[in-house]
Symmetry: C2
């Protein structure tokens, strides 16, 4: 391994000069700088990360804690993670991948050891165990998601409450009076995941305001679960003509089942989804949907964090305004009685 000292010798300067060339923290004459840079290139020098971290007491690493579970939309997580990694690189940071498995211990370990300068937490629960620790450590952090108490924390998330409201508004404007909400798996609600509850809040509040009946049903992914859920929905509310789906793995099953039952989308039934854009456009019916801006969230998180690390940051909650894109899955409510029941 080439060291700073070797570069210095090669360039005929002292070690500290090389260091200053690298960091730009003191002015260096153009000639010297060029000679040093030349030596760095010739020798293929890379500063040793450990030594840097030790001497500078910053590791230039951001820790990213992703959920371990895979009962929620995985591509969103992946997209966020990739956005975080690429954005971090543009600011000179690397990303350490932590899984939720270790829980609060990971926070202690990573901040305690100085492994990372800052943290990004995904899949934050309303009363998350990691938050008290995070507040304590004093290391900069950004949550992707929204806990119950945000004092002293920086959070970035889609405004799911507004997203829920938007979905109801859209359907109500089209004349739908009975709306079913197909939600995430029950487990997601049981552990009080913020985004799921907030969407529901938004849906319910606006539904009440607009005089729309709402039926919420959590649903495991997949075909069979969706079939059972759908049967229950129509059993309980036969007049249902609008669906809001917030569960990636229920979307395609729902569409297929509706088709099979002879309920046409959007003629008989309208479907609105809360999902990444890619899913909405690739579904068997192009879906009217509020998209989840995964990439944007990842980028945002990193940029806030970097700002904090540079001493410019503030604690704030950034809620990204939802956008509903009309596609082929929603239309005016039929004025006739609910559509024929299919063979199901």
């Amino acid at each position: 391994m080439v060291t700073l000292a070797e570069v210095a010798r090669h360039a005929g300067v002292s070690a500290s000069t090389v260091s200053y060339v690298l960091s730009g923290k003191r002015s260096i004459s153009a000639g010297t700088r060029q000679r040093v840079e030349q030596s760095i290139r010739e020798l293929g020098y890379h500063p040793n990360a450990g030594a840097r971290a030790l001497a500078g007491s910053r590791s230039n690493i951001i820790a990213l804690m992703v959920p371990l579970r895979t009962d929620m939309y995985v591509p969103v997580m992946m997209e966020i993670a990739i956005a975080v990694a690429t954005t971090a690189r543009t600011h000179g940071y690397d990303v350490l991948l932590l899984t939720g498995e270790e829980g609060p211990d990971a926070v202690r370990r990573v901040t305690g050891s100085g492994l990372a300068d800052a943290m990004i937490l995904m899949d934050v629960e309303l009363e998350d165990e990691r938050l008290p620790l995070l507040r304590q450590t004093g290391r900069p952090s950004v949550l992707i998601g929204l806990p119950a108490d945000t004092t002293g924390l920086t959070c970035v998330d889609l405004d799911f409450t507004a997203a829920g409201a938007l979905c109801v508004e859209h359907l109500a404007a089209l004349g739908h009076r009975d709306i079913a909400v197909i939600g995430e798996a029950p487990a997601v609600y049981e552990r009080h995941t913020g985004f799921a509850e907030r969407t529901l809040d938004g849906l319910r509040t606006r539904a009440r305001e607009l005089g729309v009946r709402l039926l919420h049903r959590p649903c495991e992914g997949g075909y069979d679960a969706m079939a059972a859920t759908l049967a229950r929905v129509f059993d309980e509310r036969p007049a249902t003509t609008g669906f809001v789906v917030q569960n990636e793995s229920a979307i395609e099953p729902l569409l297929a089942l509706l088709r099979r039952q002879g309920r046409a989308v959007p003629e008989d039934v309208s479907v609105v989804a809360v999902c990444p854009e890619q899913v909405a456009t690739q579904a068997s019916v192009r879906l009217t949907a509020v998209s989840i801006p995964a990439r944007q969230m990842g980028r945002y998180a990193v940029e806030h964090l970097v700002a904090k690390l540079d001493g410019r940051g503030t604690d704030e909650v950034v809620l990204i305004a939802p956008e509903l894109t009309r596609r082929a899955s929603s239309g005016p409510a039929a004025t006739r009685t609910p559509p024929p029941t299919g063979k199901s």
Copy 2:
């Protein structure tokens, strides 16, 4: 931050003793050990990662390079990444997340700076630019995937050639003589991704041996692309009764289109997929499939790497034997003429 020295003072021993308690590299009397451990706990001591890396010249970090692209099956990547992260933790390593974006430079940077002790590369191309560098650096590495030349490299992957063969065998045994292969997006083949080409090899070779006709069509994900591809397939080979799908985002569209055309699965047409188990079981028809053992691959990769880091490792290529699970999507070929053409 609590330091080693403070722990030492608190426990009434020297710093080196604390270090030896931590590493276990020299014997320590039970009494001393307990006193030190007690102090560590009381003070909430975490060894400083940078100092450790510097003094010990190992960072206890494994770099994982994931593909930036999202034109291939993302959940598989995510599952591998999570398996890597959790397995690494059980061996005392953390994982640094790199995206393919930086390319070979990332390899140089990470190994040059000693940021990571070892690397795992995903999405390896047949002639991957990163490989020469990897061989040079001498740092342990494991590839998930298989390049053209594996000398001096350790690789872990599903035996996609065997997987392809297995699919053909299964369909041939059921009496199918005309098989269509729905592949990944064209871009995947254009960049010579190993697993796609190897699957194709396996399919073709066994098809030739068994006297089965094979038609391969790359396919972008989604409904429309699949519709176009399917039309071309039946146009060119009307007698097609077997499908092999290696493209997660084409599966559900294919099933829906077949249904719409009045081709029953598995009565008229059999479908075999190469995909993660979760996808196979959650599809609208439970799919006969060769599953992609993502978790196993991630675990394997880390364990090989750790073995190498401990000086026990060897360079070898581990191909995981594919397993085909029969589910509801494949059955005997109809003896009658190809099924009716639907409204499409």
